[in-house]
């Protein structure tokens, strides 16, 4: 079960907060997703009411593509805290968060009837960031570790990984151009919603004129992946 309460129990205590500055991408992403989820939750509620009135049942009528990602109830942990947690323990590169967001966005495009809501957003995030890291970072933790960090059962996370890959139709390549577009979009979102001056998302080091996968350049594939502590 993915609930906020699970986190202290899985042996990854929140530790001493030797304050490394939170990457801006975490804040921006959390902000954008919070708004999306809040809006979609209202829509989902509306749909559920309509269905209840017509004496049908269940939340599964909100489009079922993301069913595998649905929890019974929304985790207590906020999106921001959840992202911070993933970022802190898995040590994934900030680009993984952007690419994870790209995957979620692609899901929404491919499955326009399915909604990202508070019941599924956490699982969608941990899964997509894990896949992004697997592809982007040559030093990355395995699924079992992501499961612990994300508060999801290991077997379940493996299922979700496959579910995500198939929902994406294995479209996991993100060109550097697309990556940049998403960064600009996220930055603009922050500006438009009156969150102060322009905040730049951390970019990876990459050749500016390159058309490569962002997922393939400027990362080493020379090192062994790390094992969980």
């Amino acid at each position: 079960m993915l609930t906020g309460n699970d986190f202290p129990a899985n042996g990854l205590a929140e530790g001493d907060n030797v304050a490394e500055p939170t990457p801006r991408v975490l804040i921006i992403l959390a902000c954008v997703l919070d708004r999306l989820v809040a809006r979609n939750d209202r829509i989902a509620d509306g749909i559920t009411h309509q269905i209840e009135e017509s004496s049908s049942c269940g939340t599964s009528h909100i489009g079922n593509s993301f069913n595998a990602f649905h929890g019974v109830r929304a985790p207590a942990i906020s999106i921001l805290k959840y992202l911070e947690r993933i970022y802190k323990y898995t040590n994934c590169s900030p680009s993984c968060l952007v690419v994870g967001f790209v995957y979620i966005d692609r899901l929404i495009h491919r499955h326009p009837n399915s909604l990202v809501i508070s019941l599924n957003v956490h699982r969608l995030l941990v899964t997509s960031i894990m896949v992004a890291s697997k592809i982007l970072d040559d030093v990355h933790y395995n699924n079992a570790f992501y499961a612990r960090v994300g508060g999801v059962n290991k077997v379940e996370l493996n299922k979700l990984e496959l579910e995500l890959l198939f929902l994406l139709d294995f479209g996991v390549t993100v060109s550097s151009r697309a990556f940049e577009t998403y960064c600009l979009h996220l930055e603009k979102e922050m500006l438009l919603n009156g969150n102060g001056e322009l905040q730049r998302i951390e970019r990876p080091l990459m050749a500016t004129n390159s058309l490569d996968d962002v997922s393939e350049i400027s990362v080493d594939d020379t090192l062994a992946s790390s094992s969980p502590p």
Partner: protein
């Protein structure tokens, strides 16, 4: 940007992969065994079309979906070329899991996941190893041109194949050649700033810069492999059959000369150069050793097996070489003879069965008292068996232990130009070719030597973490793109090659379970 506008329609989507079941196909025969599972020839029930099904091994619970599979799928999705194998779709097989109503739970984590490829009748190694097989010059030119065309396409699309070898070059009965097995492939950028692993490419086809520990490299690595294959086609046998990395480098230096700052500016800066620089002067002997080759062939080969990767010929320039434009010209693929299906996996199996047969016959003879004092039967090549920590095991375990295993390519009636021509000093009976690990391009196990850990000394692997168990003979190391980048091959001499380890596993894998 649909996160804020999720209602937009995404048009022109092809039917999504994974939507069909493997039950749409009828498995006919196993044709290969790879890092991430078996490969089958199969027939699509609806259309009757013959395809190859590559099963993706999903048994590593900690790792989830193998990264090699993600990479291969991702890369093949973007490559569409007549000389690159076509990934048609991905299918799933219904697993045991059901929902409350007893229906399949709609979850893709099922019995198994298969990549569906177009079916190819042969791989180049399997074809070349057929008894009595001799390629004609127009045929060799035809294959080489297709290989270079496919590779040029990959390089233009900024994909390094990183495992070019005969068993990954698939050939159909129309004479078409296609690059396969992109499990080690990756995109590259032209800035050469990224650090890439040097633990790629099957040993015999691995270029000197990787053997010397370079982590910044480009398409030239594939061109070295192409050169090795080219020479092998002309020569009739592999030209650099090293048994470990030091020997591999030595074989290269003996033929290509020793690298120095003159013929390879910057070579002394490569990490392990000082460990491996030859102690005696060696000069380039390609023209001498291969003097029987056609002039244009020799010229092209020289440019391919150039030590300095920056001077090595590119696929594009190789296609413009005189060799392809002088008589006899490359033939039309369609004019090539059709052969009965041959994959290295199958030809090996056949040879193994045959040897086993002969073996049994000999053993029966041995039981006669007058032969009781004869020394134990030595199969040619068996002298090298001690190099393998885990010898190749017979499929059913019934083979007598003296048999060295199925990976040898010795003793085939191939019409070698004669022993001693090649300076490597291969015994005429054929060398220990066992490090040829690949099992046909649909399913590689080629990377055993990097993944399997053994050859570099297991001490090195301590950082490998959860991936590919270190040092053990049984490590598949599947799904591990990440290799420790430690010192150059400590203890590599005599430790045997991981690929043998893999070879051994391969034959034991029939019973692996989901």
């Amino acid at each position: 940007m649909a996160v804020t506008a999720p209602g937009q329609l995404n048009v022109n989507e092809p039917p999504s992969w994974g939507s069909r079941s493997v039950d749409c196909f009828e498995k006919l025969e196993q044709i290969g065994e790879g890092t991430y599972g078996q490969v089958y020839m199969a027939r699509e029930l609806k259309t009757g079309e013959i395809v190859a099904l590559k099963k993706i091994r999903m048994d590593n619970e900690r790792e989830g979906f193998p990264i090699t599979a993600i990479r291969e799928i991702k890369i093949l999705k973007k490559l569409h070329h007549e000389n690159v194998i076509k990934l048609k779709e991905i299918v799933t097989s219904p697993g045991p899991e059901k929902d409350e109503q007893g229906k399949p739970d709609g979850n893709k984590y099922k019995g198994g996941i298969y990549m569906v490829f177009e079916y190819m009748d042969h791989d180049l190694t399997g074809l070349a190893d057929r008894p009595g097989m001799r390629f004609s010059v127009p045929q060799i030119k035809c294959y080489m041109r297709q290989l270079l065309t496919g590779l040029h396409y990959c390089h233009v699309n900024q994909v390094l194949h990183r495992d070019i070898k005969g068993s990954n070059l698939l050939i159909d009965n129309e004479g078409n050649l296609k690059l396969a097995d992109f499990g080690l492939a990756r995109s590259f950028s032209n800035d050469h700033n990224a650090n890439l692993t040097n633990r790629v490419i099957t040993l015999w086809y691995r270029p000197p810069e990787l053997l010397l520990g370079s982590t910044k490299y480009g398409p030239a690595v594939d061109m070295w492999s192409v050169g090795c294959i080219f020479a092998e086609l002309l020569h009739g046998k592999p030209i650099f059959p090293g048994k470990d990395e030091p020997e591999q480098l030595n074989k290269i230096f003996e033929l290509c000369g020793a690298p120095d700052e003159v013929n390879w500016p910057g070579v002394s800066k490569i990490p392990w150069y000082n460990n491996f620089k030859p102690t005696r002067p060696m000069k380039r002997r390609i023209r001498e050793v291969f003097r029987h080759f056609d002039r244009h062939a020799l010229e092209l080969l020289e440019k391919m097996i150039t030590l300095d990767p920056s001077q090595r010929i590119s696929a594009k320039d190789a296609l413009d070489a005189e060799y392809f434009w002088t008589d006899p010209l490359p033939c039309d693929p369609k004019s090539l003879p059709k052969y009965e299906s041959s994959h290295e996996f199958q030809t090996k199996k056949k040879r193994q069965q045959q040897r086993q047969h002969e073996e049994n016959a000999k053993r029966q003879k041995l039981q006669h008292p007058q032969h009781a004092r004869l020394p134990p039967i030595q199969q040619s090549g068996q002298a090298h068996a001690h190099m393998r920590p885990v010898p190749n095991q017979p499929i059913h375990g019934s083979q007598p232990p003296v048999t060295a295993g199925p990976s040898h390519h010795f003793g085939k009636p191939r019409g070698h130009p004669g022993p001693g021509r090649y300076p490597g000093g291969n015994p005429p009976s054929g060398y220990n070719h066992s490090s040829r690990g690949g099992q046909g391009g649909y399913g590689n196990n080629q990377y055993a030597q990097g993944r399997g850990a053994a050859p570099y000394g297991s001490g090195n692997m301590s950082g490998a973490g959860p991936r590919g168990g270190a040092g053990g003979g049984s490590s598949y190391g599947m799904g591990a793109p990440n290799y420790p980048q430690n010192g150059p091959y400590p203890g590599s001499s005599g430790t045997g090659r991981g690929s043998n380890v893999m070879g051994g596993n391969r034959n034991q894998q029939y019973g692996w379970q989901q």
